[in-house]
């Protein structure tokens, strides 16, 4: 697999990162060399091997259904650049 200009633009848009031409070129080179390196794994025969979703052999820890009653509003909004009446205020998003 090769990363080209279109792919890098698509990834940048999905990540909401703005890249200029110089940066795009750099990332294409970097990502391609990473992919080449990872692609060595293709040399291993993985037929009949189930994909592994986690390397840990422990069991998913679970919580009891107990809720805390603390009012988080002040703490949660502390770093918000803009807020109103307990809401985060962000630039208008309309779908």
């Amino acid at each position: 697999m090769k990363i080209d200009k279109n792919t890098i633009n698509k990834i940048a848009r999905l990540s909401r990162i703005k890249l200029d031409d110089k940066e795009s070129e750099d990332y294409i080179k970097d990502l391609n060399s990473i992919l080449d390196w990872v692609e060595q794994l293709n040399e291993v025969n993985t037929e009949n091997v189930e994909p592994l979703s986690n390397i840990s052999s422990s069991i998913l820890p679970k919580r009891e259904d107990v809720s805390n009653d603390t009012n988080s509003s002040e703490e949660i909004l502390e770093n918000a650049p803009d807020k109103l009446e307990g809401f985060f205020a962000v630039p208008k998003v309309v779908e």
């Binding site: 998913l60 009891e64 259904d65 809720s67 805390n68 307990g86 809401f87 205020a89 309309v94």
Partner: protein
């Protein structure tokens, strides 16, 4: 049954599938200990996990998992011993993580089915593809300020069950019945509160049209509908839109649509270029979810009687029709109320049909008029039972019983009290009724002449007059019989 839609040129068939999002009834969120309470102050129930602060790790809520399994069992579905949480990546202001934790390839619940019942006594199975657990997003308010969107993260991280159906639905009515049935099952199981107004239950509708017998057409998805009425409206509009395009030689573009509840129209939500690329991958913060057969068995044994079982029991025990029984069992509060009413007096078991009618027509219409439901009905099951007993023993007529019920509803008195106080006991004494009829006949000689000359319709007039004199208390059957015999 003809389920086809008439187009300009020929008939079309709708093909509909639903994705239902049901909020899990739990105290705390799926991966954090914040409360799930509805209607609290904005951002007051947001933990550092829900706000996606760096370094925070999700820990799954055991009870939410059990609720999903319980629901799976209620949907006659296969429970998967092994499931995996994935990240569904997208960018939006009310999704602080930048991804939703969901299940993609390995959902917790697999294939199942639910049955919907039609008025004519027939029924139909709708197949379920899967049920998976995922996080809800926060809420955005777009209409408060021209340049700002306000975000409340209280809902962020609340557990959702997404229930996906096969495209087995063919009409808007079937879609409505299907979501009602799912809602009813969830409420009997107590795994979701079913409150569509508060958004605890909402649906995305996939719809395409085809000529009968042909392959499926291209579908469109209508997002986020939160009432059965809107679901039906949106389907009708969208099907018409697709048929018009196809009949004028065009083709359907696969698209995500929004439904405008005030205009009743659908419109595309985003164009293809911006189509979402979710880049699902297993969430490295969460191990696979494993559930043993033993745990599943334990949950199964805790499941209460579900609407279909209850319906069959009502049909068996009380000889009710399939339709009556399904109306009674559609909502848990209705079947509970029926059970309490019919068990309040041993006599009532023989009058089950009358009990059904008084609950589903008379009481329901009074409750509707007063914006109440059975949970806060001023008339208790015992009191309704008493009223119905007075009817079944002929102590009062059905007509008078309606007035008594209204009185019970507003005054809170029992049926017995009202009947005794107002002296509403039905007159069944033949002599007494005959006396009244003689009076009516004597007062209306001309009418009697006309009646005897063949104007049969006048019988109603005489009945009315006699009823008036007895203040509606005469037993209608006895009154009719005597009247007919006297006017020969």
């Amino acid at each position: 049954m003809n389920n086809l839609v008439k187009g300009e040129k020929h008939d079309w068939e709708m093909v509909i599938g639903l994705e239902i999002h049901a909020q899990v009834k739990s105290n705390s969120k799926l991966f954090s200990s914040s409360s799930t309470k509805f209607g609290s102050l904005p951002n007051s129930q947001v933990s550092l996990v829900d706000a996606a602060m760096p370094g925070m790790l999700p820990v799954i809520n055991k009870y939410c998992v059990e609720q999903a399994v319980k629901t799976g069992v209620g949907l006659n579905a296969k429970i998967n011993n092994y499931s995996v949480f994935d990240r569904k990546n997208y960018f939006y202001a009310d999704l602080p993580q930048g991804y939703q934790i969901s299940q993609y390839k390995y959902p917790i619940v697999g294939e199942g089915k639910v049955t919907i019942d039609f008025k004519d006594g027939t029924s139909k199975d709708i197949r379920i593809v899967r049920l998976h657990l995922e996080q809800d997003a926060g809420k955005s308010l777009h209409d408060q300020n021209p340049s700002k969107t306000y975000v409340d993260l209280n809902r962020s991280g609340v557990a959702l069950m997404e229930i996906v159906s096969e495209p087995d639905i063919r009409t808007p009515d079937e879609a409505g019945m299907y979501i009602s049935k799912i809602r009813s099952i969830l409420m009997y199981l107590d795994t979701c509160d079913g409150n569509m107004q508060e958004g605890s239950l909402r649906a995305d509708v996939n719809i395409s049209v085809r000529k009968p017998g042909e392959e499926y057409g291209t579908r469109c998805e209508i997002k986020n509908l939160n009432s059965i009425k809107f679901i039906k409206q949106a389907i009708n509009y969208e099907a018409k839109r697709q048929i018009e395009i196809l009949e004028s030689g065009g083709s359907i573009e696969q698209n995500t649509m929004l439904f405008n509840t005030s205009t009743g129209k659908t419109r595309p939500m985003r164009n293809k270029e911006e189509a979402h690329d979710y880049r699902y991958f297993p969430d490295p913060d969460l191990l696979p979810l494993e559930i043993s057969e033993e745990e599943i068995g334990k949950i199964k044994s805790s499941i209460p009687e579900l609407p279909d079982e209850l319906k069959n029991r009502f049909i068996e025990t009380y000889k009710l029709s399939n339709y009556d029984a399904s109306v009674l069992t559609a909502e848990k509060q209705t079947s509970d109320y029926f059970n309490e009413t019919i068990n309040s007096d041993s006599e009532l078991k023989n009058h089950a049909k009358i009990v059904v009618n008084w609950i589903t027509s008379e009481l329901f219409s009074l409750l509707n008029k007063n914006n109440l439901d059975l949970n806060n009905s001023p008339v208790s099951p015992e009191n309704l039972g008493q009223l119905i007993k007075l009817i079944s023993t002929n102590e009062i007529s059905g007509k008078i019983a309606k007035d008594v019920l209204e009185d019970m509803f507003s005054s809170g008195k029992t049926a017995r009290q009202i009947v005794d106080e107002k002296g509403l006991q039905q007159v069944t004494d033949q002599d007494e009724i005959a006396k009244v009829i003689d009076e009516v006949i004597a007062e209306n000689p001309k009418m009697v002449e006309q009646y005897l000359a063949g104007k049969d319709k006048l019988l109603g007039f005489f009945v009315g007059q006699a009823m008036k004199l007895t203040k509606g208390k005469a037993n209608p059957k006895i009154l009719n019989d005597i009247l007919k015999s006297k006017l020969k």
